[in-house]
């Protein structure tokens, strides 16, 4: 398998639970060494997709290829996983628990010990290594669980809502750790409904809604594809003066500034505004992920029964 081959390749995958389709005809490709984000509201099929990647669930149709292995769990030892539903053995000591979970990834304790010690040090948990998990706070438990996902030095790390429940300080620690993984060349798949975190961390994104992919691509691609339809204008004539001008579909009055949704070429509107005079500001708006998502998912939601 070459380095240019994707870490994950999903083709035409569908998965239903009873009569409920959780994922429908999903195809995507996760480039190696990148941070790939799954975005979408609760119930959009993100967690099911992650479980399909880990072969915890098998697809009803379509194919899943992970780290060059097609349709088997053979690559699972090279994948670290932080599920959304966190859990640890409460009566087990932190170090012993991490050694056990990394042993299940095929790493003997002799090799995992220094890696675990290094991660515990990084997260400030060295002093708690020999304590039982029940003595740890919730935030500490989440950090231990993250270490369990990465301590075996996997090639691919799958994280389901990694920031949920963490305070801002620990969120920052985790963000740094993710960037460190990326620098080492680890592929990271991140599922979240935190659009801001995804915007900050992810190189490539896949937006899901009701089990279907509604968008995917790099952040720049998405903005390029969805960011040209909006401009901000500051002028002496305000919102009323913008109504009916060429290329204007809708105007949102923000006070001194108006946000204009375009139906045509922005250059045409700019020329018209310059000709009319009194324009002090004209800028194209780079939409946030949330705006892009709402623009793409909302119509589907409205159309949903």
């Amino acid at each position: 398998m070459g380095v240019s081959d994707p870490a994950v390749r999903i083709a035409g995958v569908s998965k239903s639970f009873g009569t409920h389709p959780a994922v429908s005809d999903l195809s995507l490709s996760v480039p190696r060494g990148t941070v790939y984000g799954f975005l979408g509201p609760n119930g959009s099929g993100k967690t099911t997709t992650l479980r399909l990647i880990l072969h915890i669930l098998l697809p009803d149709s379509g194919s899943v290829e992970v780290l060059g292995r097609h349709g088997t769990r053979a690559a699972n030892d090279r994948i670290g996983y932080l599920p959304e539903e966190r859990g640890l053995y409460r009566k087990m000591e932190v170090r012993r628990q991490l050694e056990y979970l990394t042993a299940l990834k095929g790493l003997p304790p002799a090799r995992s010990r220094p890696l675990i010690a290094s991660w515990l040090e990084r997260f400030g948990l060295s002093a708690w290594a020999d304590e039982k998990v029940e003595a740890l706070s919730k935030g500490m438990c989440q950090k231990v669980q993250f270490i369990a996902a990465v301590a075996a030095d996997p090639e691919l790390v799958v994280l389901d809502e990694p920031f949920s429940g963490l305070d801002p300080v620990n969120q920052e620690v985790l963000r740094e750790a993710l960037l460190e993984l990326k620098r080492r060349g680890t592929t990271v798949i991140l599922s979240t409904h935190d659009m801001a975190a995804a915007e900050e961390l992810c190189d490539t994104l896949c937006m899901m809604h009701e089990g279907r992919k509604v968008l995917d691509g790099t952040l720049e691609d998405l903005r390029a594809r969805h960011g040209t339809g909006m401009v901000r204008v500051e002028s002496s004539f305000g919102a009323a003066g913008l109504e009916g001008m060429p290329g204007v579909a809708a105007v949102r009055d923000l006070g001194r500034v108006q946000e204009v949704r375009l139906s045509g070429d922005p250059q045409e509107l700019l020329r018209a505004l310059v000709a009319r005079g009194g324009v002090s500001r004209f800028e194209t708006v780079r939409p946030t992920l949330k705006e892009i998502f709402l623009a793409n998912a909302a119509p589907a939601a409205k159309g949903a029964p």
């Binding site: 699972n76 030892d77 994948i79 859990g87 640890l88 042993a103």
Partner: protein, 425 residues
């Protein structure tokens, strides 16, 4: 296989380090021993109340023999057994006398009364004696009375017939019976004297072996169920099945549980053998019986361990598991229904049929093996084959249920749904 071993070792270490396990390991024999001691103490200490009874004997010929026997018993019986205290009931019309004596029994003045029919010594047709009490479960007094009155009536008849008492005693002296085993041939081919029958060998060792195996299985397999449910409740299962297949997880758990159970065996079997040596019946516990014990323990743990693991995987909470546990518990206690009959006729058709029923085989075949001469070799071979096959079926079925169940949350599946999971590809 390394992952299965890692799961097994972790299960083993987690279990044997838990306070609950150590307490159960130490306290189970203590409780069993204590309950035996308590029963003996209760029997000897609690039941010492005098048994007063009246004897309605219009002829007056038999009462003196009863009174003398009661006095003799009181002198030889010691303080621990209740005394039997007779009194002669007033003569009168029998029905009225019986009514009066019944009244005294109801008022707890008497424990019982005996009505002796006229003509009992003469052997009149239908003449005998009747024993009346409110406590029919207490058998010591009526059995004692039967013996005393039989002897008194016999003596009276001998005296009446003018037979020489000594000659009669010689003529009616019972033939002593010795209970022995079979005659074995020595290395030189010469027959050896048969060994005396041993209560330890014929009853205690077989029953103890079977109940010890039952105890070990009963102690071990619910721990598996708890462990699986805990992993579901603590949300650990998803991390585990992202690293190992559900079947590997099941096998690791079964193996870990087997290690725990074998460790307990080491203590309990060691203790049992030491006790047998201490009481001079060590030769009744041959090494091959211990080997068979371990073989059947392994098979029983595979059968019941896989059943209980599957139940744990199918349920999200312990209370939900109760309904599914009922059929598994029923199979587990099947040997309890038949063990006494098998002990009495270990080579009979019933013994053979029930001990070849795979869920009951480990315990009942062990019971039969402990009773000389044991089952025929073909029976043993068939039992092993059937039980290994059934164990494999249980593990396979549990693996299928485990695969789906470990991912399922919420409502407990019905038996029909479990069958669907098993039949799913």
């Amino acid at each position: 296989m390394r992952k299965v071993a890692a799961i097994a070792v972790t299960e083993f270490v987690n279990t044997v380090r838990s306070r609950g396990f150590l307490l159960a390991l130490m306290l189970t024999p203590v409780f069993i021993g204590a309950s035996a001691v308590v029963q003996i103490v209760i029997k000897e200490r609690v039941d010492t109340e005098d048994r007063r009874f009246a004897v309605f004997d219009p002829s007056g010929g038999l009462y003196p023999a009863i009174a003398a026997a009661a006095e003799g018993r009181a002198l030889s019986g010691g303080a621990r057994a209740p005394r039997f205290v007779p009194e002669r009931a007033r003569d009168g019309e029998p029905t009225a006398a019986a009514a009066e004596l019944s009244k005294r029994v109801r008022s707890r003045e008497l424990f019982a009364f005996v009505m002796i029919d006229p003509g009992i010594v003469e052997g009149r047709q239908g003449a005998g004696f009747s024993y009346h009490t409110q406590t029919q479960a207490y058998l010591d007094l009526p059995l004692w009375l039967k013996g005393v009155l039989d002897e008194a009536v016999r003596s009276a008849r001998v005296a009446g017939e003018r037979i020489d008492k000594a000659a009669f005693a010689r003529a009616t002296k019972p033939a002593p019976m010795r209970r022995l085993g079979l005659v074995e041939l020595g290395p030189d081919g010469a027959p050896r004297a048969a060994a005396p029958a041993s209560r330890a060998g014929d009853f205690v060792v077989p029953a103890a072996a079977m109940f010890l195996l039952f105890l070990l299985v009963f102690m071990s397999v619910p721990m598996l169920l708890h462990s699986v449910i805990e992993e579901k409740q603590m949300r650990i299962w998803e991390v585990l099945v992202a690293s190992v297949s559900p079947f590997q997880l099941l096998m690791g758990k079964l193996l870990g549980n087997t290690l725990v159970s074998l460790s307990v065996s080491f203590f309990y079997l060691g203790g049992a053998v030491a006790m047998a040596e201490r009481f001079g019946v060590g030769d009744q516990v041959p090494p091959q019986l211990i080997a068979w014990f371990l073989v059947f323990q392994l098979l029983a743990l595979l059968i019941y361990g896989s059943m209980f693991s599957a139940i744990g995987a199918a349920c999200s909470e312990l209370r939900d598991a109760q309904s599914l546990m009922t059929p598994a518990m029923f199979l587990l206690i099947v040997p309890m229904f038949g063990w006494v009959a098998i002990l009495r006729a270990p080579t009979g058709g019933f013994a053979m049929a029930l001990s070849l029923f795979p869920p009951a085989t480990p315990m009942l075949m062990l019971l039969r093996l402990a009773i000389p001469p044991g089952p025929a070799p073909w029976e043993l071979a068939l039992a092993i084959a059937l039980t290994v096959g059934f164990s494999w079926l249980c593990v396979w079925t549990a693996g299928k249920i485990f695969r789906v169940g470990i991912l399922a949350q919420g409502q407990t599946p019905t038996l029909a749904r479990l069958v669907e999971w098993v039949l799913a590809k």
